[in-house]
Symmetry: C2
Subunit: 389 residues, 2 copies
Amino acid sequence: MERAYIVGAGQSPFGRHPGDSYRSLMLTAFKRAVDSVDAAWDCTIIDEVIIGTLGVGGRQVGLSAPAISSHLGLGSTPSSRIENACAAGGTAVRQGVLAVQAGVTDLVLAGGVEVMNDMSPKVMRRWLGVSGETEWERMAGTTFAGVYALMAEAHMEEFGTTKEQLAGVAVKNHRSAAANPDAHLRFECSVGDALEAPLVADPLGLYDCCPVTDGAAVVLIASEAMAYELTSRPVEVIGAGQAAGSVGVYDRSTLTSVPATVAAAARAYDQADVGPEDIDFAEVHDCFTIAEILAYEDLGFCAEGEGGQYLQSGATLPTGSLPVNRSGGLKAKGHPIGATGVAQVGELFTQLRSEAGPRQLSDINRGLAHNVGGSGGAAVVHTLERASA
Amino acid sequence: MERAYIVGAGQSPFGRHPGDSYRSLMLTAFKRAVDSVDAAWDCTIIDEVIIGTLGVGGRQVGLSAPAISSHLGLGSTPSSRIENACAAGGTAVRQGVLAVQAGVTDLVLAGGVEVMNDMSPKVMRRWLGVSGETEWERMAGTTFAGVYALMAEAHMEEFGTTKEQLAGVAVKNHRSAAANPDAHLRFECSVGDALEAPLVADPLGLYDCCPVTDGAAVVLIASEAMAYELTSRPVEVIGAGQAAGSVGVYDRSTLTSVPATVAAAARAYDQADVGPEDIDFAEVHDCFTIAEILAYEDLGFCAEGEGGQYLQSGATLPTGSLPVNRSGGLKAKGHPIGATGVAQVGELFTQLRSEAGPRQLSDINRGLAHNVGGSGGAAVVHTLERASA
């Protein structure tokens, strides 16, 4: 198995960009990724393109990956689309890592993109819904907010988690987003704001939910030889784990854990030969505030049931022992479906290279990215480490 | 790079199955693939699932790969959907090969599935169209038959290819399909039948076009150690090549060749260290009869412009020097989008194991599978070889 390294990363600004196309957003992200590479280089040496996107909004559906490659000037480079709902981006990164590990490719563009704000709310609700379990949840009227509300209720009942703790996730991540020029919701909020916001699906209010975001992200994954040709400061992908889970929550044994996250994390830790105690910071999948609480537990950052207290302890603040979602997370940076998992890995790269500007974390050598599809039908976990010069 | 082997293959019957679901068809294909493995084995050792499907017909769209894995009893196995329009299946096989080559997985299920006949013709036309180039072709009214008709016209004008030669492809492939119990159109046709059939897009008539087919296919891809645990007769994947092309024909330099096929074949030949002269038989992408003529040339089986004569020479008949589409091809075996490229590789496996029954070819050691997305936005070529015991 060859070793795989990230040598560049870029993203478009996340936000409402209904006038942009999936190709123009990808081009913005790609240019930034190209510019982030230390060496002067010819980007046509990229020899594999993998694009994560849900992308079924009535525009180019089939062959969107080749269409993107043409637009980026990457000609006949093998180009494939990966889909795993909201984990499409993380899945694309992992497939790119596999291509490098296979020794078949030297430099992979793993990207993700979504345009969501060009649809009417009605079309978009239907479009998003198709990633939910169809027969027993979606067609019965359940929404994603509804499914995560069930999880939140169960966690509150079983472990005494409070609405204030959920609000604490929103407050933390909004504050971080305010320091991220590419975030969608760049404003702070208070616990009171969150608690007084309109209910979306009891107990989740408006501030417990991520926004509907357009955006694109790109990371460049290289073999060892290629990595050190392009930079003296690559970041190694030391672990990549993926797992599937039941698409619906109706046939899971638990509502207070996402089994796919637990399985994916175990694989990523195992491949990297590290444990949760070795992780310095993380980007986790906080599509709803409860999801970040669950992630703390499922990733092993704290014990089962203690996610709420862990948040309240301050451990995951930028100044804490394990800062989580310094980018603002899905909650406030935004969640352009296919782009999310790619941007998470990009954030780890940028932080580990000490290039994150006002949101730069200190004393970090190892980070973790965690991306979930739907309510847990898929999960992907990557662990990254600052490589030696 | 680890070596990759096929150890099992299965497909559902191809045909009109509007009462089946993508999961039930996959289960049929999976059971047959499981049964095709020589050793007694526990299929839960599969450690990666990759599903090729276009799959946007209003049913489960996001997370269809995990939904399939759950249905097959493969629990938390990492599961991802790949899409490259009509090349989704070939792309899934190649991603599976990469996962084995990386040394990360020992046994991959690469599958493909499509259900098309549960939609109204109007919905299906719109659904299929989304794989065509959007801005300059689809929205201007061009259909896939129309685009391939342009290619046929150009080939006729430049090289003197005739309607009789196109019909010859249909006659050959229908005759082969009649010997394939899993084919969709199991009846023979004459050159006269083809020439007198209603026009679809001049010069292409009904018999020049593949049918609208439901079906699923699975191949099992193993590492060397795993392969020889499961069988003494594996088939090695000696070359896997993929390429992208412009999604629309409007900005290609030629209408008489598919550049993505040429590039993908060059990569597959190069990795396998073989040339077209070393190929004993092939399954090529004959969505329209002209596509098989173009494939002969683009894969190097004959010289540029000579595809029509090559067909007429009988070289690609089951008794010829390089039998093509002994399964019946997309033309008559059928073309359930995502399943096609997987079933092609399955056919090579079955033939190379001498298990093809009445359609078995003789004196074969090496085969080629060729899968195209859209009109050439993507192409995937695999070369397979009988491995030593």
